[in-house]
């Protein structure tokens, strides 16, 4: 996910929000505060601390009990008054089950350097002095030989609070001439770039309390109960349903959200969401269920009467839907063949969505991590617009839906500073920049410069398993990384010897988030700040990410500039001051927060903000930030990319490059999806035995597909395609559409002697191919075959 710099600092309006004036916005009594602050007597103490940030969608509060330097128990938020304006930030299984990860025998304990060939996995212990010398020497050598553009800190979210993970490393290199930058993320590349093509902004979401005003919620490829797309999102949806909303879940799997939140589940073939959306629009047009007044006043490009000047002859959206030019009307019958959803169901859902006002179409991110992921983002936005669900309470504009009206949580207050290197690549194209970086330009998504001046020569992966385990096509990535003439120096800084770390030249042992100071705010939604006090000693020879970078800064001769004389805790004190001068004017001091042991500062939301209210009121006075000032169903900007087959100017269904409809099905008839899995945050926690006991890594296969392959529940199954093979026990389930199998993403790659992955990383099967417009990952677009495995 992209970390945004907050732009509107100092210009925040809190109209509509009752800002908490006291430390506890829940208006607790002093006696209640005292009760919260009390710790257990004797040698056990309790500290409230933010759940370690690993880029799940939640930011939760833990009560951690510590005895003799060891965590003995973990509970969660127990603030009184658990109501909808400011619900308790209850941790899920990943936070409550943190002890096995924290106390794991396999923690990286000392700096180590590679012995033997890269990737053989042999290391020897070295001192921090030698480790930081190696860092400084290699940074200097590569900088001199190739320039700063050859240095790269890749995408990675294993440590993801305000001060840990890659941010301290970014700061260090930015003070030392910079490094090749990136944009995009592995989470939401398409939705991040396609949403503004419609709305001119990413702030398209109402605050979640407003969901209680909604009457119909389409959860499209969205599974917040498992992801936690914002702490309490599933709780808000439950409340909306209790308030009378109907919830419908459209997903290839009958997800945890479908079971616990939805009134109805509609299975859909992966990658065909745009066919269903297009057919819904067909129903709206032919049954006259559109809001014509809204379309005329607020949109452009819907039909031939409202095409932008100079584009009058181009295909309008309505023409596409009715098949005027391509002679393929996007009827429900047409969509049934593609989606696997009966035409009657498609028609009914279209009518329900159009007739039940206000309604919400929430787009999950999985369907935009696909071949033409940009289309479905634009398609969802257009459905919201033509039914006039934009700019109203209870409605929902779709798109990436950052929280109104300021974009939501800050996400990044630690000063990583300006990168003196202007060149940026889309993060999913890092391997391209390794093998053919020099000369790469706009056609590969490079921004900031015309052409890259060099290949990537040094990778410093901080809290990142996205080089091997989480990147598309593991077997390809390995060949690239193993070549020591390409990446000349590969450093991994982490808690464990991950699949990525096994290939490192130098291993830097980072401490966990319980072992240093930190701070986190909401992830995508929420108005709170959670403190992460250091509650354990930093063990063995581990260091915080910040301390590691400070030690390297010393070797580079920039320690003072780097640290500003601050240790980790002093940075937190400083950053609370940054919040105080911007988003949270009434936030207490660090000393007050420590004293109270409340752990969290939160603002209740009693009058939730709604996106696009002003635009809805007066589009002339408050135009959108699009070129036309209106909702752009036809995008001039996309038209000018001059690639109508892959980047059409109006949102279209495009058959994916691997699909159930191509010749590839002869060899590989099954679609494979890699959803987020309850026991992990991406690849974090894969080595946690409490969590894998609860949710073992399995190949999930429908009973019909299992039967034709003579596979029984629990059998070892081999799933393979031209890129690799995974072997795992299977779970036969009714809860997935026939023709689709699921291998939850994030399991650690563990090859056997033949190269089969026994750990079950989905990326053994995925592709490195990127999407046409956003240059985003399309890792869910894969076909494979499954057979019973016989050793």
């Amino acid at each position: 996910m992209e970390r945004r710099k907050f732009i509107k600092v100092g210009a925040l309006g809190y109209g509509g929000i009752i800002a908490g004036k006291s430390l506890l916005a829940k208006l607790m009594t002093s006696a209640q505060i005292k009760k919260l602050a009390s710790t257990f007597s004797g040698d056990e103490r309790m500290v409230r601390v933010g759940c370690p940030s690993h880029n799940c969608g939640g930011r939760c509060l833990l009560k951690v009990y510590v005895k003799e330097g060891v965590i003995t128990r973990i509970e969660t938020d127990d603030r009184p008054g658990d109501d909808i304006s400011d619900p308790q930030l209850r941790a899920c299984i990943r936070g409550r089950g943190y002890r096995p990860r924290q106390n794991h025998a396999d923690r990286l304990k000392y700096p180590m350097k590679r012995v033997g060939k890269r990737g053989e996995g042999n290391f020897e212990r070295i001192s921090w002095d030698e480790a930081t010398d190696l860092m400084a020497k290699n940074i200097n050598r590569i900088k001199e030989k190739y320039g700063n553009e050859a240095l790269y800190i890749p995408y990675g979210t294993g440590g993801y609070n305000q001060t840990c993970g890659k941010w301290p490393a970014d700061r260090l290199l930015n003070l030392y001439g910079g490094a090749l930058g990136y944009y995009n993320s592995y989470s939401w590349a398409c939705i991040n770039l396609a949403t503004p093509t419609v709305y001119g902004t990413r702030v398209t979401g109402n605050q979640r309390q407003d969901w209680l005003n909604c009457k119909y919620i389409l959860m499209w490829g969205w599974n917040p109960a498992e992801l936690r797309d914002g702490t309490n999102t599933e709780y808000f949806l439950r409340k909306a349903r209790e308030n009378g909303a109907k919830l419908v879940c459209i997903d290839p799997r009958m997800t945890m959200s479908a079971v616990s939140l939805a009134d109805e589940w509609i299975p859909i073939r992966p990658g065909t969401d745009m066919a269903m959306m297009s057919a819904m629009v067909y129903v709206l047009i032919t049954e006259d269920l559109l809001d014509k007044h809204f379309i005329a006043k607020y949109c452009i490009g819907f039909d031939e009467t409202q095409m932008p000047e100079g584009f009058e002859k181009e295909e309008s959206y309505k023409e596409y839907i009715l098949g005027i030019r391509d002679h393929h009307p996007k009827t429900p019958e047409w969509a049934e063949e593609i989606t696997g959803i009966p035409k009657e169901t498609i028609t009914r859902i279209a009518r329900e969505y159009a007739n039940t006002k206000p309604a919400m179409l929430y787009q999950g991110y999985g369907m935009q991590r696909r071949a033409y992921g940009e289309q479905v983002v634009r398609g969802g936005c257009v459905l919201a617009a033509i039914t006039a669900n934009v700019g109203i309470s209870g409605g929902w504009a779709s798109g990436i839906a950052l929280q109104a009206d300021d974009g939501g949580p800050f996400w990044n207050v630690f000063p990583t500073l300006k990168n003196p290197v202007k060149a940026k690549i889309p993060c999913f194209l890092w391997s391209e920049a390794v093998i053919r970086g020099k000369g790469m330009g706009a056609e590969d998504g490079v921004t900031g410069v015309d052409r890259l001046s060099t290949d990537i020569k040094m990778i410093w992966a901080v809290a990142s398993n996205a080089i091997i385990n989480q990147h598309g096509n593991i077997n390809r990535s390995i060949e690239i990384i193993k070549d020591e003439s390409k990446v000349e120096f590969f450093v991994v800084q982490d808690n464990f010897l991950t699949a990525t770390a096994q290939f490192a030249d130098l291993l830097l042992p980072a401490c966990t988030q319980f072992e240093t100071w930190g701070m986190e705010d909401g992830w995508k939604y929420g108005d709170e700040l959670i403190l992460q006090p250091q509650i354990l000693e930093t063990p063995w020879e581990t260091k915080s990410d910040y301390a590691i970078c400070a030690a390297i800064a010393e070797k580079l001769g920039i320690e003072e500039e780097y640290t500003q004389g601050r240790d980790e805790k002093q940075w937190i004190e400083h950053l609370i001051g940054v919040y105080k001068s911007s988003r949270f004017p009434d936030i207490p001091t660090l000393a007050e927060m420590e004293e109270s042991n409340v752990g969290v500062y939160s603002l209740p939301v009693t009058e939730p903000k709604v996106a696009f209210v002003d635009f809805r009121k007066d589009p002339e006075k408050y135009p959108l930030q699009t070129e036309s000032g209106k909702i752009e169903i036809f995008s001039k900007q996309l038209f000018e990319k001059n690639n109508p087959a892959e980047i059409p100017a109006v949102p279209k269904y495009i058959q994916e490059w691997e699909s159930p409809f191509g010749a590839e099905t002869e060899k590989f008839p099954l679609q494979v999806i890699g959803p987020h899995y309850m026991p992990r945050v991406h690849s974090t926690h894969d080595n946690n035995n409490w969590l894998s006991e609860a949710f073992p890594q399995r190949i999930f296969i429908n009973e019909i597909d299992a039967k034709t392959r003579k596979v029984k529940d629990g059998d070892l199954v081999k799933v393979y395609n031209d890129r690799g093979a995974v072997i795992l026990p299977c779970r036969i389930t009714r809860r997935i559409m026939p023709g689709v199998i699921s291998i939850p993403q994030g399991a650690w790659w563990k090859p056997d002697k033949d190269g089969n992955d026994l750990g079950g990383s989905i990326n053994t099967l995925t592709s490195e191919r990127w999407t046409p417009m956003a240059f985003g990952n399309a890792q869910h677009t894969i076909m494979a075959e499954a057979i019973k495995f016989k050793a």
Binding site: D78, I93, R238, W265, P267, P342, L691, A694
Partner: protein, 207 residues
């Protein structure tokens, strides 16, 4: 004194197992021991109609621990009288007396008592008796992210949530009179449903 009980709302349970792990953490349970566990139930069949698929299927979850039954069959069958019931209904195992004979685990229809390999004795949910005595809720109840668990006096829970119902795969409540109030999932109506089965057996099996 009124007996204490759990309430479980199957309608909103996502099956996230936070309760299971909160219990594991509170009680330091070994791998293979699950004093609270979550059963995934599903049933029904798929129908193919042309190129379309119709899912006549359903699924729901049951989070279950010891139900501190009014008539604890485990207690009746314990040869060493290690199992006791407090005035408030909490059924406990005195591990200093327990012989580890496992009779209780054979007779309990809920799979609540589980053998502790390390100590050679039985263990099970004690309703977080230490928390209850401090006026707090059991750990699992306050853990639930969907707020699907509650705790209190049985009659109060019945008043608040309604009478318990017979829900698959739980046994007839008349056998042991469990102190458990359940709100069934919309798809847990036993009369209308085809072939319900527990489909995550490997996740709920225990020592």
């Amino acid at each position: 004194m009124e007996r204490l009980a759990f309430y479980f709302d199957s309608r909103n349970c996502s099956g996230c197992k936070t309760c299971q792990v909160a219990c594991k953490d509170k009680n330091d349970l070994a791998i293979g021991t699950l004093w609270r566990r979550v059963y995934e139930v599903s049933g029904g069949d798929w129908e193919q109609k042309g190129n379309a698929w119709l899912p006549h299927i359903y699924a729901y979850n049951i989070s279950l621990s010891c139900n501190h039954c009014e008539e604890p069959i485990c207690m009746k069958n314990c040869p060493s009288s290690a199992i006791k019931k407090r005035e408030d209904g909490i059924v406990t195992i005195d591990q200093s007396i327990c012989l580890g004979c496992k009779y209780c685990s054979w007779v309990c229809p809920y799979g609540a008592p589980q053998f502790n390999e390390e100590k050679g004795v039985m263990g099970k949910c004690d309703l977080c008796i230490d928390y209850v005595d401090q006026g707090k809720n059991p750990s699992c109840v306050d853990a639930c992210p969907t707020r699907s668990l509650d705790f209190g006096e049985y009659s109060e829970l019945v008043e608040k949530y309604g009478e318990k119902e017979h829900i698959y795969p739980l046994p007839n409540p008349e056998i042991t009179r469990p102190s458990l109030v359940i709100n069934p999932h919309k798809d847990a109506d036993m009369d209308k449903k085809m072939n319900p089965e527990v489909v995550n057996m490997e996740e709920v099996k225990h020592a």
